[in-house]
Subunit: 326 residues, 2 copies
Amino acid sequence: MADKKRRITSVDVAREAGLSRGTVSFVLNNTPGQSIPEATRQRVLQAAARLGYTPYAPARTLRSGRSDVALFVLPDWPQGPTMAALVDRAAQVLGEAGLTLITHVHAGHDDGLMKLWSALSPAAVFGMRPFTGEELEGMRRVRIPAVLPPSEQPGYDIGGSLWISGVGRLQARYLIGKGHERLAYVVPDDPRLSALGRGRAEGAAQACAEAGLPEPVVSTIAMDAGSAAEAVVGWEATVTAACAYNDEVALALLAGMRAAGSSLPVIGADDIPAARFAVPPLTTVAQDSGEIGEHIARALLRVLNDEDPALELPASVIHVVERESA
Amino acid sequence: MADKKRRITSVDVAREAGLSRGTVSFVLNNTPGQSIPEATRQRVLQAAARLGYTPYAPARTLRSGRSDVALFVLPDWPQGPTMAALVDRAAQVLGEAGLTLITHVHAGHDDGLMKLWSALSPAAVFGMRPFTGEELEGMRRVRIPAVLPPSEQPGYDIGGSLWISGVGRLQARYLIGKGHERLAYVVPDDPRLSALGRGRAEGAAQACAEAGLPEPVVSTIAMDAGSAAEAVVGWEATVTAACAYNDEVALALLAGMRAAGSSLPVIGADDIPAARFAVPPLTTVAQDSGEIGEHIARALLRVLNDEDPALELPASVIHVVERESA
DNA sequence: TGCCGTTACTATCACGTGTAACCTATGACT
DNA sequence: AGTCATAGGTTACACGTGATAGTAACGGCA
């Protein structure tokens, strides 16, 4: 076999079928407005199958100006199963529309994103984190058809506020509904999470304001029981319940309270698998990440069709999972 | 602005600089064997910067036959921070070599991988899970230069055995070192995890055999405390300590033992953040995922240079984190 | 018969890039 | 003065594909 050398192109298929390359292309793309007898069509299809022909994406993209990959830019903070389910479902929906979903974790410690666009020239990009002005400018330059950063981009807030401040709001409302009036909001000291942490804390603050209550005390902790215990002790008797930025922080908080000998209601966020096994089992705000993923995918597809992307994400995609910690 | 219409090509840069496109290309790629005076070089560079020129990847790939994206195929089972750190580090190493790392979670419920190769035509592919024969055949067809599935491919076992059976072996050895002679190995009932679960259980079995002990009892549990309690009760008094497939299973097991009123030593795997906050804090096997990521990246690069990829992964990348659960 | 319309194709261009081949002054050397 | 090497470029081709324009054969119809 001359295997190692050349890739199989549509020219090979044409030769094998005894037809011209144009005809092959018409058949393989079922180009509308062409009349092709069934016999010829089969001849092409079988020749292609026999040779194992696969169209070469770069050439196709170059010619048509449209690639069929969609790109999700993920932030580098730790991603749980929530995000995985979201991406999985989005991939499924986009796949039905002929798009392949790719994810890229971008740590932000370099200008990798620029390279990424030029390396992929994706048909659509969605950012799980807001893009910087510089990044947006770069995308504008290479004319990427669809951009949907969560929030911060007016008109493009695909429910970003729901994931972020919405979660905080729901946590606070739940505790307020249980009769608590002085809340704490606990965020981790990981700088990568600070933006998101602030956003959720603000959501909680809004809920408090709506209920005519004072703002929550915001405490930053390191991810160990000692640091959490310090924070708990610092609240003295003023705080009666705490929201955690996510379940891991909530677990740290529970550990801290065990160490400090205190015991306050705690509500987490994300419903990680470990939450149900905590002591006590953790009450938390869960997201229907599959639905969110589908939602994002559909919005991307609408943007690709030059339609209005702004779909409202139903509030039902986040809800409280009540266990015993609050 | 005629913004929306055309993308900026090297022709535009050439016109702006008052030179031919060839010269522009030579400068931008600093092609060796060309003599270009500094003045001209600057003229080109500044023109490119002024216009915000970015080379168009599909065209470049088409011409050169070599794309600069590397692809990690991730399995669809839940990925923790371990995998994230691995990918992040690998992306960094590959980035230094001019490659952009892309990840794709493949649920396996379709033929998406085929599409993926044709959509990306990556320079290199690494699979976090073994590939099927069909998939390998597809890759061979489109002539993807590098393939490094973990294990199962002779000569391509880039330490796969270390992550899989190696972890199980280390868990069992630790418990054996503590004087236990009858072990259980607990795997989750998630079918996506069964292959990996079996692999780790086999590692534990090997360690037992080496120590002249009977095989571990393998128990499959659903991820809730009730199911875990059942398994624990089923062991009666024969089992004196348990290895868990991962930390989440270990946490379930601890919850199950609380429910069943028993208390056996348990060792987990992966060292997720929640492990240190468990009751009791979880002893577990941690992996230095950054180092593993770097390792994989370097192996990929070697394969791209037609060198031998087989690097030994040092055993030090996995180690026991001793806490109180075992 | 002459003209038209349809069928079933083929020939050709364009996409943007990398690079081998070619071209033209300018000195240097015999 | 003639030859030649070299710096400093320019031209032309190839990569594989999608689509548009063209063309030969053929049937229908006046």
